[in-house]
C-alpha cells in the first residue's frame, strides 16, 4: 500500500519521529496509569475486605437474626458471626480483664489470621497465616496475656465458667484495626464455647458482628441481591459496615495517592497532547511543498486526503500498540515500587485500560494531528511555481477549540473527575489567555527596550516580535509544559509532606485512658523510667448521658447507640483544640461565658462532636443531663465540632468550658509513642494499674506507614515519566521555528556575522521566550494548584513564592540551552550546507 510506503519513507526522513513518540508517550502514560489503577483498585477491594474479614458486616448490639442465616444459606452467601466483649480471665492467682472475641469456625471470610507458637514473634518465618478460627476448647491469645497471667503456651485459663487451652499466640487478626482493643489483651475463642463460658448474660455489653462474603462462584450479583434484601431487614440496632469504612484511615491515604496518580496521568496526557499538536503543526508545514507537487502531478484533493488519512491511521495504530506495550512495561515498574503492600496474586486488569490506552491514541490523532493537517489537500498546486502561495491552515481558533475539547474529553473520560478536568482546563485557559495577552505585551516591551540595548539583544528581541505568531505558539507550549510540571511537583510534595507530618516516626501509637488522680504520679514515673514521652496529660471526667431535653432516651435509641450505655469522657478547655473545627454554633470565649444564655438558666455550655450529635438527633440548644458518679448536672449544646483523627492526639466528643467539671472526680489520659522493643511496658502498666485502659494503635500505624512509603515511591516514579513528557513538549516547541532560524542564521553568517552574534541572538531569543513562559506558567500553575488542593486533595490554599522565581529562571535556562543546542548547526556547518539541507 502506497500510504504505508510513504509512511515508512517519512519515518526514515525523520519528519514523523516527534509525532510518533508524542503519541506513544500519551498512550503509554494513560495505559500504565489505567492498568495500575485498575489492578490496584481490584486488589484494594480484596484488601479492604480483609480489613473487615468480610465483604460486608452488620454491627449490632443483638445477635444476628436467624432468618438472615437461613436466607444466606439458601442464597449461597458465606457467613460468620462474631461477638466481642470484655471478660475477666483467670490463671491461678492471676487475673486480667481481657478483650474476648468469639468467632464461628468459618471466620475469617476474607483476609488471614496471623498466629505463632512464639510469643511476641516478629520474624515472618515463625508466623503462620491461616484462614481459620480456634477449635472449640482452644484459645488464641495476644502475646502479652502470657506474662500477664504468668502462663505458658499450652496452659489452661478460665474465661467465665469455662476452662480452655491456650493453643496459639494471636499475632494479628484481619479486622483487628477496626476496633481498638480497649480492655487489654485480645483472646480469640470459638463461638460454640460461648454457652460453656456463659459470660454473656442479659444486659451484658456485647458487640455482635454478622460477617458476610460472596461465594467464590458468585460474580457479585447474588451477593448484591442478598445485601439489598438485608438492607430492608435491618432494625435500629443494626449498622452496616462496608470495607471502606473499616479502613477509613488507610483508604484516605490511598485515595489521595490514587488521585495524584490520576492527576499525573492526566498531566502526562495533556503534555503529550501539546507535543503532538506542535509536532503535527511542524509536520504539516513540511508537507506543503510535497502536497503541491502531488497536485501538480494531477493527484486529486480527495486522494491526497485519503493518503494522509491512511498514513495517520497507520501511524496511530502502530504508535498506540507501541504505547500499550511500553505502558504495560511501565506499569510493571510502578508496581514493583508498590509491590510489598499488594497481595502477591494481583488480579489481572480487564479490557478497559487497554481500550482506554488505544482510544487515547486515536483520539489524540483526531484532536491534535488531523486538524493540523486538515488544510493540506486544499494546497494549491501553483505553490510549486510560487513560494508565496500557501493554503490557509485551519483557523487557529477552531484548532485550539478542537484541541481543548479533545483534552477535556480525554481528561474526563480518563479521570472521571469533573474537578480535575476543570482545574486543569482552567489552569490552561489562564495560562493560554495570559500567554496571548501578556506574551504580546512582553514581546512588545522587549522590542521597544531592545532598541536601546546591544546588537545581540536588539536583533533577538526584534526577531521575536517579527515572528509574533510562532513565538506565541512556542511560548504557550513552553508555559503549558512548565505549568503542568509545576502543578505536579507542588501537589506531590505537599501530599508527601502531609503524610510525613501525620506519620512522623515518633507519632503517638498508644493512648492511655482512665488514669485516676491517685495513679497519675505512678503512671508518669513508670513511663519516665522507660524513657518514653507523652504528648501531655488531659484531664477528664467520666460521666453518663442520662437525659436528653429532660427525658430519658427511648429504648431504641439506647440500644442502637453505645454512647448512651457507657460512661463518656468529658473534658474541658478554654481554647478550641487543634484540628477541631466548629460546624454549628459558637465556640466560647470568656465574654460569651459571662453572657446571659448559660448563666441565666444555670446550665453548663457543651460543645459536641458533629457525628454523635447527628446520630443522637441533637441540635443546638438541646439540653443534656450528665451523671458523674451519682452527681447530676445539666448542660446546653452551644456548638458542634468536627474532629481531626489524623494527628493521633486525644480527641473528645463532649467539651466544656473551664470551671464546670473541675469539682468532679477526674481521670487523666495521654497519648505516647511506644517503640516495639518497649512494648512490654503496657503489661507492666496494666498489671500495676488494672483499671487503666490502653488503646493500641501501633499495628495499624505501621501498616499505614508502609503503605504511605510505597505510594510515595510510586509517585516519584510517575513524576519522572511526566518529566519525560515535558521534555518532549520542549523539543517539539523548539523544533517548530528551527528551519527558519537556521536559514536566517546561515544568511547572517554569509553576510559575515560572527559565531558569537548568531549564538547570542539564539540564546537571547530562546531564553527570553523561556523566561516569559516561566512567568506565565507560574501564574497558571498557582491557579490550578489552588483549585486542585481545594477540590481534590482537601488541602488549604498556600502561596508558592518559589514558583515565581523558579518558573522564569528554569524556563529561561532550559529553553535557552535546548534552543541553542538545537541551533548550533547554524554555526558549526558551512552556511551553504545549512541552506541546502533546509
Amino acid at each position: 500500500m502506497l500510504a504505508i510506503k510513504m509512511l515508512l519513507r517519512g519515518w526514515r526522513g525523520g519528519q514523523l519521529g516527534l509525532i510518533f513518540w508524542s503519541l506513544v508517550l500519551a498512550v503509554a502514560v494513560v495505559t500504565s496509569v489505567a492498568l495500575l489503577a485498575e489492578r490496584v483498585e481490584r486488589a484494594l477491594v480484596n484488601q479492604s475486605s480483609a480489613f473487615l474479614a468480610a465483604d460486608l458486616a452488620v454491627s449490632s448490639s443483638v445477635p444476628a437474626n436467624s432468618e438472615w442465616l437461613e436466607r444466606a444459606a439458601v442464597d449461597g452467601i458465606r457467613t460468620a458471626r462474631t461477638a466481642s466483649f470484655a471478660s475477666m480471665t483467670y490463671a491461678g492467682e492471676q487475673m486480667h480483664l481481657a478483650s474476648v472475641k468469639a468467632v464461628e469456625s468459618t471466620y475469617p471470610l476474607r483476609g488471614v489470621v496471623k498466629r505463632s507458637q512464639i510469643p511476641f514473634a516478629t520474624d515472618a518465618s515463625v508466623i503462620e497465616s491461616v484462614m481459620a478460627a480456634p477449635q472449640p476448647g482452644e484459645l488464641w491469645v495476644d502475646s502479652r496475656l502470657l506474662p500477664l497471667l504468668n502462663i505458658e503456651l499450652g496452659d489452661s485459663i478460665d474465661v467465665g465458667d469455662g476452662t480452655f487451652t491456650v493453643s496459639q499466640i494471636l499475632i494479628e487478626e484481619p479486622d483487628g484495626g477496626s476496633s481498638f482493643s480497649m480492655y487489654g489483651a485480645r483472646i480469640l475463642m470459638n463461638w460454640q464455647d460461648l454457652p460453656v463460658a456463659a459470660v454473656i448474660q442479659p444486659g451484658s455489653r456485647v458487640s455482635y458482628r454478622f460477617l458476610m462474603a460472596a461465594s467464590d462462584t458468585d460474580d457479585g450479583s447474588q451477593f448484591a441481591r442478598f445485601s439489598e434484601w438485608l438492607g430492608d431487614e435491618l432494625t435500629v440496632h443494626d449498622r452496616i459496615i462496608t470495607p471502606d469504612e473499616a479502613q477509613a484511615n488507610i483508604a484516605k491515604t490511598m485515595d489521595k495517592g490514587r488521585r495524584f496518580l490520576l492527576l499525573a496521568g492526566s498531566i502526562g496526557v495533556v503534555l503529550a497532547g501539546i507535543a503532538l499538536a506542535l509536532a503535527s503543526h511542524h509536520f504539516a508545514n513540511g508537507q506543503l511543498l510535497q502536497v503541491a507537487l502531488y497536485k501538480s502531478w494531477g493527484v486529486s484533493a480527495r486522494r491526497v486526503r485519503q493518503l494522509y488519512l491512511q498514513q495517520i491511521l497507520a501511524l496511530g495504530a502502530v504508535g498506540s500498540v507501541a504505547g500499550l506495550i511500553i505502558g504495560w512495561g511501565f506499569h510493571q515498574l510502578l508496581l514493583s515500587a508498590v509491590r510489598d503492600w499488594l497481595p502477591l496474586d494481583l488480579p489481572m486488569a480487564g479490557a478497559r485500560p487497554w481500550i482506554t490506552g488505544f482510544a487515547t491514541g486515536l483520539l489524540c490523532l483526531i484532536g491534535f494531528t488531523l486538524p493540523a493537517l486538515w488544510h493540506l489537500p486544499a494546497q494549491s498546486p501553483l505553490a510549486v511555481l510560487r513560494r508565496d502561495i500557501q493554503v490557509a491552515s485551519l483557523n487557529s481558533a477552531v484548532r485550539g477549540a478542537l484541541g481543548v475539547i479533545t483534552i477535556a474529553v480525554l481528561l474526563f473520560w480518563y479521570s472521571n473527575n469533573a474537578y480535575l478536568t476543570l482545574a486543569i482546563l482552567l489552569g490552561f485557559a489562564v495560562t493560554g489567555g495570559a500567554s496571548i495577552i501578556f506574551g504580546l505585551l512582553l514581546l512588545r516591551l522587549g522590542k521597544t527596550y531592545g532598541q536601546k540595548m546591544g546588537s545581540i539583544w536588539r536583533l533577538a528581541l526584534a526577531n521575536l516580535w517579527r515572528r509574533k505568531k510562532p513565538s506565541l505558539i512556542q511560548m504557550a507550549g513552553f508555559s503549558g509544559a512548565i505549568a503542568l510540571l509545576m502543578i505536579m511537583t507542588v501537589v506531590r510534595t505537599s501530599l508527601i509532606d502531609e503524610w510525613r507530618w501525620q506519620l512522623a516516626d515518633d507519632a503517638p501509637n498508644h493512648f492511655l485512658v482512665n488514669v485516676a488522680s491517685y495513679e497519675l504520679d505512678g503512671v508518669k514515673t513508670l513511663i519516665q523510667r522507660r524513657e518514653l514521652n507523652t504528648a501531655g496529660w488531659y484531664s477528664m471526667v467520666r460521666g453518663r448521658l442520662t437525659h436528653i431535653n429532660d427525658a430519658l432516651p427511648n429504648e431504641d435509641l439506647k440500644r442502637s447507640h453505645e454512647s448512651l450505655n457507657r460512661e463518656l469522657n468529658l473534658s474541658w478547655t478554654s481554647a478550641l483544640p487543634e484540628g477541631n473545627k466548629i460546624i454549628q454554633g459558637q465556640w466560647w470565649d470568656s465574654a460569651a461565658l459571662e453572657g446571659p444564655v448559660a448563666e441565666s438558666v444555670g446550665l453548663a455550655p457543651v460543645s459536641i462532636e458533629e457525628d454523635i450529635a447527628r446520630e443522637l438527633g441533637l441540635t443546638l440548644g438541646d439540653q443534656l443531663r450528665f451523671s458523674v458518679g451519682g452527681l447530676v448536672f445539666d448542660a446546653v449544646i452551644t456548638s458542634t465540632r468536627s474532629l481531626n483523627w489524623d494527628n493521633m492526639t486525644p480527641n473528645f466528643y463532649f467539651l466544656f468550658p473551664e470551671g464546670y467539671l473541675e469539682e468532679y472526680p477526674r481521670t487523666y489520659m495521654t497519648s505516647l509513642y511506644v517503640p516495639s522493643d518497649k512494648k512490654l511496658m503496657v503489661n507492666e502498666l496494666l498489671r500495676k494499674y488494672p483499671t487503666v485502659q490502653v488503646i493500641e494503635l501501633d499495628k495499624i500505624i505501621d501498616r499505614i506507614r508502609s503503605i504511605v512509603t510505597q505510594i510515595t515511591r510510586g509517585l516519584e516514579m510517575m513524576t519522572l515519566l511526566i518529566l519525560g513528557c515535558g521534555v518532549l513538549v520542549m523539543f517539539a516547541a523548539v523544533s517548530l521555528s528551527m528551519s527558519e532560524r537556521l536559514q536566517e542564521s546561515a544568511i547572517l553568517r554569509t553576510l559575515g556575522s560572527s559565531k558569537r552574534l548568531i549564538l547570542g541572538v539564539q540564546w537571547v531569543e530562546f531564553s527570553t521566550l523561556g523566561l516569559a513562559a516561566g512567568l506565565l506558567a507560574a501564574l497558571g500553575a498557582e491557579f490550578a494548584i489552588a483549585m486542585l488542593q481545594h477540590f481534590m486533595f482537601d488541602q488549604a490554599f498556600t502561596w508558592h513564592p518559589w514558583l515565581w522565581f523558579v518558573g522564569p529562571s528554569a524556563g529561561a535556562l532550559l529553553v535557552g540551552v535546548l534552543g541553542v543546542t538545537y541551533s548550533r548547526k547554524a554555526v558549526t556547518q558551512p552556511p551553504l550546507q545549512v541552506l541546502n539541507s533546509l
Binding site: R12, W297, V299, S300, R302, L382
Partner: protein
C-alpha cells in the same frame, strides 16, 4: 496540443487592479518546443502556470488536447495534468527524505504504476545517475539534483513538459549539460516542451519563442536553431 485564446490575468492589489497577462493567443502543436521569455515580472511564470492548468486565467480559454481546462474545476484540471503534464522546476523540488530513486518513482507510484521502481531506475540510468540511485538530494550536486528532476518528469511519459527556469539555479557549464539532456530526452520521448527562461541561448534552442513584456505578448517567433 495546446490552444490558448485571449487569456488575461488580473489581480486586485491595494493600489487597484493589476494586469499580469493581457490577451495572450498561442497555439502549440504536439512535439513542438516553445520558450517563453521576458524580463522579471513580465508574467512568464504566470502564463506557464495557466498553460499547465495550475492556475486559472481571469478570461480566455486554454485547450489541452482538445479539452477546455479553463472550464474545469480543480479536480478536472488535476485529471488532465495526471494524463498529460510533467514539470521541471528551477529549484528542483526534490523531496529531501527520499532517495533519488524514490523521488523519481513517487509520481509513478501515485499513478498506480506497478513497476514504478524499475521504470524510475531506467530513467535515472538515462540521465546518467545509475550509480547514485540510493543517494539523498543533499548528497547530490545541483546539476545532479536537476538530472533527477528530469528523470522524474520524463518517467511519467508526459505529453507536455513544462519547465520553469530549469537551469536558473545552476552555473553556466552545468546548465548547458542539463539543457542538452533536456532536449535530448525531449526528442527521444517526443514530448511537447514549454519552458520559461530568461536565457536567450536556451530560448534559441526551442522551435518557437514567445516574448512577454509587462504581460503583453510582444513577439512570437521561430527559434534560430533546432
Amino acid at each position: 496540443m495546446i490552444d490558448v485564446s485571449n487569456i488575461s490575468k488580473q489581480v486586485s492589489t491595494s493600489e487597484g487592479t493589476l494586469c499580469i497577462l493581457d490577451q495572450i493567443n498561442l497555439s502549440v502543436k504536439a512535439g513542438e518546443t516553445l520558450a517563453i521569455i521576458g524580463s522579471s515580472g513580465s508574467g512568464k511564470s504566470t502564463l506557464l502556470g495557466i498553460l499547465a492548468g495550475l492556475d486559472t486565467p481571469s478570461s480566455g480559454t486554454v485547450m489541452i488536447d482538445g479539452q477546455d481546462i479553463t472550464a474545469m474545476d480543480e479536480e478536472g484540471r488535476a485529471a488532465v495534468r495526471a494524463g498529460h503534464v510533467g514539470f521541471v522546476f528551477q529549484s528542483f523540488h526534490l523531496l529531501p527524505g527520499l532517495t533519488a530513486l524514490e523521488n523519481v518513482a513517487l509520481p509513478l507510484e501515485l499513478q498506480g504504476v506497478s513497476d514504478a521502481l524499475k521504470t524510475a531506475e531506467h530513467y535515472l540510468q538515462r540521465v546518467g545517475l545509475a550509480a547514485r540511485v540510493t543517494h539523498y538530494p543533499r548528497q547530490l550536486s545541483g546539476g545532479e539534483q536537476q538530472r533527477v528532476a528530469l528523470a522524474r518528469a520524463f518517467a511519467c511519459r508526459p505529453t507536455i513538459l513544462f519547465a520553469d527556469e530549469p537551469t536558473g539555479n545552476l552555473d553556466t557549464g552545468t546548465g548547458e549539460k542539463i539543457n542538452d539532456l533536456l532536449f535530448a530526452l525531449n526528442e527521444e520521448e517526443g514530448t511537447t516542451l514549454v519552458l520559461v527562461t530568461h536565457e536567450k541561448n536556451l530560448a534559441a534552442r526551442c522551435q518557437r519563442t514567445l516574448e512577454l513584456q509587462a504581460g503583453r505578448q510582444i513577439a512570437l517567433t521561430n527559434g534560430s536553431q533546432h
